[in-house]
């Protein structure tokens, strides 16, 4: 065992965060949510997809960024470069692409009057152009959005005046995960969960493992190392400017299920992808503001799950969950992946129910603050970063 069981060690490592309770008004105030919209979501880099969603030239996807009140078109041009645009026609503002994804044969046509754009976003054709008044087509391309690509993850930034590069923004996350072979993993499944909860409430509920032996007493009580065989202890915590990662060590006494054990033996993959950039056996990277990268070591090959939490309103969030595994090359591996997927899925369904219950509890204002223990330090840190961006919520009386 590598994990140190000493109590309260993270407060010692990061004393500036303090140890007091956390206010809850920021999770339930519609005014505060408007501040987050402007000062966080319209300023920060946001993960909207992966490059493998659009491997071919001319392929595109649309991301409805309700929280930023815009729709974004991400497209791989004929020149193979990936660009992002506001999905808004230059003529009268119609939504250019009304569907979620596709491939264009070289041009995108607006459905209203057929103004036509090429795969680089330039306006290429206007019907009955002679009847306009000195149109300068070269100035009427789609409005670009700042885009950054890091280890295959596509990010956009709605702050047109911003200058910080994605790499710089990601700071320690980019350093720690540099060169991770995420591109060798394939997406096996996506879930979208429409939740009546604040986005931070949902993130907070995932951002610790203190609850595992309790809430997940049937699904994952003993996955990670336990103090006195009872309570989880983190293996490591690292804070990077606005992002953080906590890591766990697997429990050697984990009680594996009969099917899990059998599939472990039958998993005969030769596709042993290894994520050597990991810190523990399980890493939880919270990429501010709303993305999580979960990395899992496993006996035959490592794998990844990502979360994106998209706020629609102060009490309404879409939680996206994506599973990435090395492409299965035999039946045992395929079934072992499905097993890991279903076991985590059921756990996340337990979490999702809690997101709504917790939000309802906070919304009652019965409690104005919440209490955190030392292993919940990343919740404390996350709320501090939110405050650094959006300010302190005024508590209603």
């Amino acid at each position: 065992m590598k994990t140190i069981m000493t109590n309260k060690r993270w407060a010692e490592k990061y004393p500036a965060l303090g140890t007091g309770p956390i206010e809850t008004e920021s999770c339930i105030s519609p005014d505060y949510f408007e501040r987050e919209r402007e000062l966080i979501f319209r300023r920060c880099w946001l993960n909207v997809g992966r490059v493998d969603e659009i491997p071919e030239r001319g392929q595109y996807f649309v991301r409805e960024l309700a929280v930023c009140r815009t729709s974004i078109l991400v497209m791989r041009g004929k020149d193979s470069q990936i660009r992002a645009f506001h999905n808004v026609c230059s003529h009268r503002g119609n939504k250019l692409v009304p569907h979620e994804r596709g491939a264009c044969p070289g041009k995108l046509m607006c459905g209203f009057h057929f103004w036509t754009f090429d795969t680089e976003g330039k306006l290429s054709w206007v019907p009955d152009e002679e009847n306009f008044f000195g149109l300068d087509k070269s100035k009427l391309g789609l409005t670009p959005v700042r885009i950054g690509i890091w280890e295959g993850f596509i990010f956009v930034n709605l702050d047109a005046d911003g200058t910080q590069s994605l790499e710089d923004y990601l700071s320690g996350v980019a350093t720690q995960l540099k060169g991770a072979p995420f591109g060798e993993l394939a997406r096996l499944r996506t879930y979208k969960v429409d939740e009546r909860a604040n986005w931070k409430v949902a993130i907070d509920a995932q951002n610790e493992v203190y609850h595992l032996p309790f809430q997940h007493r049937f699904t994952f009580p003993d996955a990670f190392i336990l103090k006195d065989n009872k309570y989880t202890r983190l293996y490591d915590v690292n804070l990077y400017e606005r992002h953080c990662v906590w890591s766990c060590e697997y429990n050697p006494d984990f009680k594996i299920s009969p099917l899990g054990a059998l599939l472990g033996q039958l998993d005969a993959t030769k596709n042993a992808v290894r994520l050597n950039q990991m810190i523990g056996d399980f890493d939880f990277f919270l990429v501010f503001p709303n993305m999580v990268i979960l990395l899992f070591k496993a006996p035959k090959a490592d794998y990844m799950v990502t979360y994106n939490f998209w706020p629609l309103a102060v009490d309404h969030t879409i939680w996206e969950i994506r599973y990435y595994y090395p492409p299965a090359d035999n039946t045992g591996t395929r079934l072992a992946q499905e097993y890991a997927l279903c076991r985590l899925r059921d756990t996340l369904q337990e979490d999702a129910k809690a997101h709504e219950a917790i939000h309802a509890g906070l919304a009652s204002r019965a409690k104005r603050e919440i209490q955190l223990q030392d292993d919940e330090i990343c919740i404390r840190f996350f709320h501090k970063v939110v405050e650094d961006h959006a300010g302190v919520a005024e508590t209603l009386r």
Binding site: R189, T219, L335, Y339, C342, D346, L348, E350
Partner: protein
């Protein structure tokens, strides 16, 4: 109606053919509509043949699985789908999570 059939070697699993469902959504719906006795019965029968089925299916590359073998694969994916209930919860009323239909799956 599910008109799938299984390779002769696995004829004994034909009583469970209704579990040969290609998508996670269908498998989840069937799981939620089943009694604990039904889940236990399918689990026991499928677990007993799992190793033989994996060996049988791996005679051809996973990517090129022939259509006639796919029901067998789907049956095993259903075994995985129900295993948490049978192995971890052991009862239908223990799971205390969001209704699975709200986890909208890509398959």
């Amino acid at each position: 109606m599910n008109s799938a059939v299984l390779p002769d070697e696995f004829n004994a699993l034909m009583p469970f053919i209704a579990w040969a469902l290609p998508t996670e959504r269908e498998r989840t719906i069937k799981r939620l509509a089943s009694s604990m006795d039904e889940l236990n019965g399918f689990y026991a029968a499928a677990m007993a043949r799992l190793e033989a089925i994996v060996a049988f299916l791996d005679r051809e590359p996973l990517e090129q699985m022939s259509d006639k073998n796919k029901p067998l694969m789907h049956l095993m994916l259903s075994l995985v789908e129900i295993s948490n209930i049978v192995e971890l919860y052991k009862r239908l009323d223990k799971f205390d999570g969001m209704h699975p239909s709200r986890f909208v799956s890509s398959e």
